[in-house]
Symmetry: C3
Subunit: 140 residues, 3 copies
C-alpha cells in the first residue's frame, strides 16, 4: 500500500483521532495519506477548533465523556490533536485538503483555516486523489 485517502465528514473527536492514528501509522509504514475535510469535518481545520472536538454522545453526557477520553489519551502519551496534525503534515506524507463547497457554504475563508491546510479543492480533485489511492476510507 502506497497511498490512503480519507473523507473526514464529521467534527467528532473519535473521527479526528481515527484519521490521526491511521495516518500516523501510515507515516511509520511509508504510506502517504490525503485527508479531505468536508461538511462538519471542515470545522476541524478552523483555527483553534481541532482541540475542542467533542465525542459523539448526547449533549448531557458529551462534555464529561470528552474530558475523560482526552485525559486518558494524554496519560497514554498522546499530544493535543492540533500538535499531532501539525507534526503529521511536517513529515510531508500527510496532506490536508479543505472542501471548497463546504468553505463557501459556511462562509469561511482560507485565513480562517490552520496554516497546515495544503489546498482548497473541489470534489473532482478529491475523486482524482481517491482514484489514485490504494484505499479510501470515509470517517463521517
Amino acid at each position: 500500500m502506497e497511498t490512503m485517502a480519507f473523507i473526514v465528514g464529521s467534527d467528532k473527536f473519535e473521527k479526528l483521532m481515527m484519521s490521526i492514528i491511521l495516518s500516523r501509522t501510515g507515516v511509520a509504514m511509508d504510506v502517504e495519506t490525503h485527508m479531505f475535510f468536508t461538511f462538519w469535518g471542515l470545522n476541524l481545520l478552523r483555527k483553534g477548533k481541532a482541540d475542542k472536538a467533542k465525542v459523539q454522545m448526547p449533549p448531557g453526557m458529551r462534555s464529561l465523556a470528552t474530558w475523560m477520553m482526552k485525559r486518558k489519551m494524554m496519560k497514554s502519551g498522546f499530544k493535543k490533536p492540533s500538535e499531532m496534525l501539525s507534526e503529521l503534515v511536517k513529515t510531508g506524507k500527510v496532506h490536508l485538503h479543505a472542501c471548497s463547497t463546504t468553505l463557501e457554504l459556511f462562509g469561511l475563508k482560507k485565513e480562517d483555516l490552520i496554516p497546515e491546510v495544503e489546498d482548497i479543492v473541489g470534489a473532482a480533485t478529491f475523486l482524482d486523489i481517491a482514484s489514485d489511492a490504494d484505499k479510501v476510507l470515509v470517517l463521517a
Copy 2:
C-alpha cells in the same frame, strides 16, 4: 477509476448530500456509481422522504440547522435532493439499489419507493457489485 459503490446506511442530510455530490462528480468524470441503501438509509428512497432529510444533530438544534444548511445550499445553486437524484439516475451512470432485507424489516413494498430505484437486492448482490467496484465507500 471506472466504478464506485456506496453503502448508504443513514438517512441524514449530510450522508445523502455526500452520496449525491460524489456520484455527480463521478458522472462528470465518466465514473459509474452504484448506491446501496440499507437500514435507515432506505428511508431516503421512500416517496417524498429525501427532501425531508435532517442533519445529524441533537433534536433541539436539528430543525434550525437543517433549515439553514438547505437554505445555504439552495443559494449556492443546489437543487432539491429528489431532483438531483432523479437527474443522476437519468444519466444512466448512477444506480440506486434498495436493500431487500431492510425493505422486509420495515414492512415496505416496491411501490413505497421512488421510481428511480433500479432494483431491490440482497447483500450478496451488493457484494458482487462492490467486488467489481474500484472504490467502496460507507456513508452511514
Copy 3:
C-alpha cells in the same frame, strides 16, 4: 474479491448488524473478513455487550426503537448478535481483532473480551491487514 477488512468504530446496533450481515454474506461467497474493533466499537467485544447494542437515536426514542428493530429481526429469522458472531468465527473465514490502544484507554484486559476475539493488535497490524484486503470499509 478474496478479503474484506472492516473498521468497526461504533457500538451502535446498526453498525454491528452491517458488519455481521456483510461478513456472513462474505462467508457464503468464500470471502474472508477481518474486523478491527476500535474506540466505542470495542464495547461490542466485551462479554455480554453485543446483545445489548442500541440503535443510533436520541436517548428518548432509543430504547423503544432498539426493541422494535430487534423484535423485527428475530421474526425475520436473525439470531442474537453474540450467536451470529460466534458462528461466523467458527467458519474460520471471519476474524475479530481488538484494538490494543483502545483496550488500554478503557482499562480493559483480554479476559474482559469474548473468547471469539482472535488477537489484540495495534493500528500497524491493522494497516497491514487492510493493505492486503481487496476492500476496506469503515463502520463508525
